[in-house]
């Protein structure tokens, strides 16, 4: 169970601080896959990375993160080391070259595990079993990373990252660089790892809502550093509440639409500059329903059971 309260992380840039993550609050329950979706620049990757490795140019401002009730010292990188790879894991976007090219895969795993005073023999059995699960041959251990294809590396990183059965696994844009077939294979493997209780809860970050529809239990929609809507996957897809979520879903051709039959609509304009974001609701100047009371920041209110939305207009619908 992970609680995030009022988390604020800014990016130091030459022209001032970009408010990448501005007062984000939500919880991740046990044995749950929470999807985080949003366009580029909405702060989802900042959220993912800050929970595990908060390094410059990221700057911790405020907020609290609790893992099973225990406060995580995310602002103190040294302190956090105790939690990394034991409690919290990250599967990075750059999984393709996440492994040291000049060292055998078995050697890398031995070093990594050794860092946490776990002897290789102890987890060897589990390692072989996990490799079989992701359809990777055992003799991959004495091969070098550069000999593997993209899809295989992705699955290998999944195995390595989850070797010590983490509490919270953060997957940051894991599928975006993959081909369609391996995208499906890898996404379903995440689900299998959660079902087999190898991993407790997963934060799955991606810009592709369709993938979240397939594997996530609940979805958090983010826009310009703020959470605009949270809800169970079925609910969000069936009747999205926030205008941004509606527009986002309407712009996806994934439900087999032809331009002859039904026109897709994009969202005019582009996300605001996060160095000095507009006051009130940040979707204001792109939102069809915006009016003057949108100048005031809408709180994230719970409309019906488990569904939160940050928009004044939703109550009237």
């Amino acid at each position: 169970m992970v609680e995030i309260k009022g988390l604020k992380i800014y990016y130091k840039t030459l022209r001032g601080d970009a408010k990448a993550l501005d007062d984000v609050t939500f919880t991740i329950n046990d044995r749950e896959i929470l999807g985080i979706a949003g366009e580029s620049g909405c702060g989802k990757s900042t959220l993912g990375n800050s929970l595990i490795l908060l390094k410059p140019p990221m700057k911790y401002v405020s907020g609290e993160v609790r893992l099973n009730g225990e406060r995580l010292p995310i602002d103190n990188t040294v302190e956090m080391r105790k939690y990394r790879y034991k409690k919290i894991y990250l599967i990075p976007q750059y999984a393709m070259d996440a492994l040291n090219p000049t060292r055998k895969i078995g050697g890398i795993i031995k070093d990594l595990v050794g860092q946490h005073r776990v002897k290789y023999e102890e987890i060897e059995g589990r390692l072989h079993e996990r490799l079989r699960m992701v359809k990777l041959p055992k003799d991959i251990l004495n091969m070098y990373p550069f000999e593997l294809s993209g899809g295989m590396k992705q699955r290998l990183v999944l195995v390595i990252s989850t070797l010590l059965n983490p509490d919270l696994l953060i997957a940051d844009e894991v599928t975006s660089a993959l081909d369609v077939s391996s995208q499906k294979a890898v996404s379903l493997m995440f689900k299998e790892f959660r079902d087999r209780e190898i991993v407790n809860s997963i934060i799955f970050i991606t810009h592709d809502i369709a993938v979240l529809y397939q594997i996530a239990d609940r979805i958090v929609i983010m826009y310009a550093g703020k959470v605009v809507e949270i809800g169970p996957t079925e609910e969000i897809m069936a009747n999205p509440l926030h205008p941004y979520t509606k527009a986002l879903i309407k712009s996806l051709p994934n439900a087999g639409i032809r331009h002859t039959k039904e026109k897709l609509e994009g969202i005019p304009g582009h996300p605001p500059n996060l160095i000095n974001p507009p006051a009130g609701c940040r979707f204001r100047d792109r939102c069809p329903l915006a009016d003057e009371n949108c100048l005031e920041e809408p709180p994230l209110a719970e409309i019906n059971k488990g569904q939160y939305v940050a928009c004044w207009k939703v109550k009237d619908l």
């Binding site: 490795l53 070259d97 996440a98 060292r103 990594l112």
Partner: protein
Amino acid sequence: MLKYLIKKLYIYILTFFFAVTIDWLIPRFMPGDPIGVLVSRFTGLPESAKVMYSYLTKAFGLQLPLWKQYINFWIAIFKGDLGISIYLYPKPVLSIIAQSVPYTLIVLLPAILLSWTVGNYIGAISARHKSLDSSMLPIFYIITSIPYMWLGILLAWALGIVFGIFPIAGAYSFSMRPNWSWQFVVDFLKHWILPFLSLFIVQIGGWAIGMRNLIIYELEANYSRYLEVLGASEGLIRRYAFKNAILPQITGLALQLGTIVAGSIATEVVFAYPGMGYILLQGILNQDYFLVQGVFLFIIIGVLLANFLVDILYMIVDPRIRLGLGGENV
């Protein structure tokens, strides 16, 4: 893997061929009559100049057609007959050079290997944190900008003359005859220390800068960040980065050999150390063309051999090459 070796060998043979051709070409196509220029500088009597003139034309075989000369030239090289030295008449050039090569190697090899290891180590340390880096980097840059011979002069003057600790000329004091007695060895080392020191210090800067930049590049690579995210210690990450950063430094060693050898020539001249450089200086000062030509060939062969050895070492160390998959980035 074999493909990599063949390709390398292919280039070295071509380079050797190219170098020897230049060596043959220059005297024959330079403006003016090479023999005339040589003889005119020879301060002997007029008749001896004529004798020299006929001897040299025969030695050069200038009367033969060009391509014949070219082939003779190659045959001579393989037979090891590099002609007779004018400066140390009638000693053959080959024996003079053979005598001087050990002296050069005694100074050059330890200087290169030690400065390479120490330079890389210091470079790795200086990349550790910002404060150390910003203070040590300017020093490295100043060291690399010092011309090879000037550092030798400074050391000779400071340690040799002002403090008088070390002798500054020759390989051993004149009163000694080379033998394995303890006394001779100590004397030899005292003469050896200054040329070695100057060559050693002047190269450290280059390696340190190279390693510092490479380590910072590796530390920013994705695999380092991934290790950090998996809670690996600072030590492990830096060990991986160092192992990957050292590889290009090996190829760097091969590429830098040419400049280092050139530097050692100047250093030997400062300390009158009887290596190839000193011989070369005498050859130039006395217009002893055959000697200069011979030293040039030896330097080329030495550098090519060293390059090839370094390439083999690189192939063994870098798995990407050994398994023939990665493109070599030399």
